[in-house]
Symmetry: C2
Subunit: 196 residues, 2 copies
């Protein structure tokens, strides 16, 4: 069975893909707002993991909607949640089984139990979160046994997280995204695997 995994190139989505690949034919999917955006580091991470990789483009206007939500609420959580829901919805058009790297400790993006069930019923798909039952300590331990990773702040590390493009959009409009996003939000990027 094929499974479409939302993929940022980072630790969690990569580990989710690795764990899932033992039972599913994993395909990695990275969403961008701008169809012209290049993601060489994410492409490299996908190549290293050895799974097929697709770049999907969000519907036009979503980036502006996300930026507007962040401006009006003053923080990014609702916008990130909304964008993640759009990604899952788009992915469910191409796969009967979709997955992401959501962890037990995550706050956002995180669908509630009822949201997940409604979503699955509506889209006739299965939504798997392979890391949901793993506490952070075990995710880190498993990641260190399977993956070589670099870490850094969002502003320095070019992975396929939604945040980077949203930050760029603020910057393009002359506004400092730093006032909306928490400081020292560490991202990760896969740069190698560890053979078992």
């Amino acid at each position: 069975m094929k499974a479409g995994v939302l993929f940022s190139g980072g630790k969690d989505s990569s580990l989710a893909a690795v764990l899932l690949s033992r039972d599913y034919h994993v395909e990695l999917n990275t969403f961008v707002f701008d169809a012209g955006r290049r993601l060489p580091a994410v492409e490299n991470a996908a190549r290293i993991l050895g799974f097929p990789w697709h770049v999907m483009t969000f519907e036009q206007g979503l980036l502006e909607r996300a930026v507007e939500m962040i401006r009006s609420s003053g923080y990014p959580n609702d916008a990130i949640q909304m964008v993640h829901r759009c990604a899952l919805l788009e992915l469910s058009r191409n796969y009967h089984v979709i997955a992401d790297g959501t962890r037990f400790d995550d706050r956002v993006p995180m669908l509630t139990r009822d949201e997940v069930q409604s979503f699955q019923d509506l889209r006739h798909c299965s939504y798997i979160r392979p890391l949901l039952g793993f506490p952070r300590r075990e995710v880190d331990s498993l990641a260190s046994r399977h993956l070589r990773i670099v870490c850094g702040e969002t502003s320095c590390l070019e992975n396929g997280d939604y945040e980077a493009e949203i930050r760029d959009e603020f910057r393009a409009s002359g506004e400092d995204a730093g006032k909306y996003f928490p400081a020292f939000h560490e991202q990760s990027l896969v740069i190698g695997t560890i053979s078992q």
Copy 2:
């Protein structure tokens, strides 16, 4: 790393053990209230899965406490939850990593996010629920690819679920357990594996 998995011999705990065994040295642990209780079907399931199997006995008086809780509330949920917590606590004395077969769709036993975090902090352990991120449809699909299973009602199938011994205790006191437990509660028992 060793992981102690709560094991009933049924589908969910067996599948959780199989998935976890790819990254941990799994040991199966079945809890009984009565140290003299024999569990040949569970022992057989453990042998089939090929993981070490231990029988652990709950502290004296727990069965009576569970029965009393069920009598006073009129339904078994709180008692099952309490017994499950005791099992996790006992297990955490022997392992730094403990696990069970809790699924995303389960209502009871199910620890909340806060309970899990407190428990892990208190016991300095990791509590993994490998199936938590899998919807029922995918659990069933994975189980059918890894395991041969028979299904039946609790009253007919002798697995290592807490419910059987609690029912027996009601019966021993001349009371019909049927009035407290939902009818047609289907249990499962592993009787073989499917080679990949």
